[in-house]
């Protein structure tokens, strides 16, 4: 697997601002992985994405896309990437099919639009004007729009925001499928559920800087408590006990509890991504 994006010491200041929005971040996104950039509003994650998709220029630092400086890439760069913006961005007075046909017309690589629309449950609504779509339908259409050119790298911003659990599941399944076919995903989100279910690696972005970059599993191992919590019934009440995970098989108190009590739940002291975020960055996820 090669490196899809290599970002070195990236700095960026908006023309209207005196202070830097991006303050020297470095990371890589490997081909075939789902890389999650997490952070609160205003942390710089959307700015980072806009720089990577060449909407923002005048940055300092180095960005390589499959080994090539993105400065040297022309509009053909957009043949290879798909972008799903956070806000739905379609011509509202045109139907979904007209929107997708219009955008698809500019790509050499064309995806099976019908197949994609059927997967997200929009095929039967293809001839309805986008202005009449619900928020969830617009979000699903956004995703289809991003996949129109069978992109090599997919940028998704808050991809499941506004979707019901069933449709969020469908989109997440499609993202995992896309990755399994070799696709690379750069995901910016504040939804920790998405991160846990999708991302191979994550980076925490706060105030224009990246804090921890790791896999969700490693982060959980690092920040989680190495303990086991048992809830059990005793005299009509629910009680709990906590045991260290080390040598748990030889812990007499733990084993006795299992034998002698009616156990209700057993949980390892695994911490959530949200807790890790707060620990790593010192701020809450908004």
């Amino acid at each position: 697997m090669s490196t899809a994006f290599s970002v070195e010491d990236l700095h960026f200041t908006y023309p209207s601002s005196k202070t830097e929005t991006i303050k020297g971040i470095s990371f890589t996104v490997q081909e075939g992985e789902i890389f999650g950039l997490l952070g609160p509003s205003g942390a710089g994650k959307s700015t980072t994405q806009k720089i990577l998709i060449k909407l923002l220029e005048n940055y300092s630092g180095r960005i390589l896309y499959f080994g090539k400086d993105i400065h040297s890439l022309g509009s053909s760069f957009y043949e290879e990437i798909g972008v799903g913006f956070e806000m739905p961005v379609h011509f509202t007075k045109m139907t979904a099919a007209e929107n997708l046909n219009f955008f698809s017309n500019f790509y050499q690589n064309k995806a099976d639009v019908q197949g994609l629309m059927e997967r997200v449950g929009l095929w039967e609504y293809r001839d309805i004007r986008v202005g009449e779509y619900s928020k969830g339908m617009k979000v699903r259409l956004n995703f289809v729009r991003a996949m129109l050119n069978r992109p090599r790298v997919l940028f998704l911003d808050e991809v499941t925001n506004g979707l019901d659990p069933k449709n969020a599941r469908i989109i997440k399944d499609m993202i995992v499928e896309y990755r399994s076919q070799g696709g690379t995903v750069f995901l910016t989100t504040h939804l920790m559920n998405d991160v846990e279910q999708l991302c191979n690696r994550v980076a925490f972005c706060v105030d224009g800087r990246l804090h921890e970059i790791s896999t969700p599993r490693e982060l959980k191992m690092k920040y989680g408590k190495r303990e086991i919590k048992v809830e059990y019934r005793e005299k009509e009440n629910t009680r709990s006990a906590v045991f260290p995970m080390a040598s748990i098989g030889e812990n007499e108190a733990f084993l006795n509890l299992l034998k002698s009590k009616e156990i209700e739940t057993i949980h390892s002291g695994e911490t959530s991504m949200e807790d890790i975020f707060i620990t790593v960055t010192g701020v809450g996820v908004k």
Partner: protein
């Protein structure tokens, strides 16, 4: 080129869907009705003014409204991540504003021909309308990109009319003295009116025509290159 044509076809389709082109044609049809009640001489006198209003103020208004609608939809961001250059997107938009001006000119010219058998120098009129449409489309685009919403754009448009259009109308009706003609050429609208009147009356002053064409072309280039292009990009980034 192929990409620009695809973009232009998309623009024209949206001009219809967003009811911009139909509104433009309805206005032209109002002129059609007006000519029925005017004599041949009166129609001949007022025709350049009506074509002028259609290809200047109406184009600014409709192009501005269209771009505000597109900004509301947030589609500029989507357009900017297509494998097309911003130059092609703006060229298509400029060409669409030419079409907008041309469509109402065709209706007005046809009305004058069929009702009063008035014939103009159509080739010259065609060229001048293209130039007027593209330059005033650029002004409309510029106003739309520099205002928060359509209402505030209307405010700016009113100011534009008072400063640049009203003097030309006063001049046409003889209220402003003829000696101000050359001074008024500073106004893009007056330059456009001069070109249209020349094509309708068949009276050409080569120096004035060249100066008006150069001014409108130059203004279009400057607006697109230095005002619209960077602002359009910023709109795309904001989403």
């Amino acid at each position: 080129m192929k990409t620009t044509v695809k973009l232009l076809l998309g623009e024209l389709k949206r001009l219809i869907r967003y009811k911009i082109l139909p509104v433009s044609l309805v206005t032209a049809l109002l002129w059609f009705a007006l000519f029925l009640f005017l004599s041949r001489e009166e129609s001949f006198f007022i025709a350049p003014l009506l074509i002028y209003v259609d290809s200047t103020i109406m184009v600014i208004l409709l192009v501005g409204a269209f771009n505000h609608l597109e900004r509301q939809d947030g589609t500029i961001s989507t357009m900017m991540v297509l494998p097309v250059s911003i130059g092609s997107i703006l060229t298509a938009k400029a060409a669409a504003s030419m079409m907008l001006a041309l469509s109402s000119m065709v209706v007005t010219a046809a009305a004058l021909y069929f009702i009063h058998n008035l014939v103009f120098d159509y080739a010259a009129l065609f060229l001048f309308i293209l130039l007027t449409g593209v330059s005033h489309g650029a002004i409309g685009f510029f106003l739309a990109l520099n205002t928060r919403n359509f209402s505030s754009m209307l405010g700016l448009l009113m100011a534009y009319i008072v400063v640049f259009t009203l003097p030309t109308i006063l001049f046409t009706f003889g209220i402003l003295d003829a000696r101000y003609d050359k001074l008024l050429m500073i106004s893009p609208s007056h330059s456009a009116e001069t070109l249209i009147r020349s094509a309708v009356t068949g009276m050409y002053n080569a120096g004035i025509i060249l100066a008006a064409c150069a001014w409108l072309l130059g203004l279009t280039f400057v607006l697109y290159r230095f005002a619209i292009y960077p602002k359009f990009k910023r709109c795309g980034v904001r989403g």
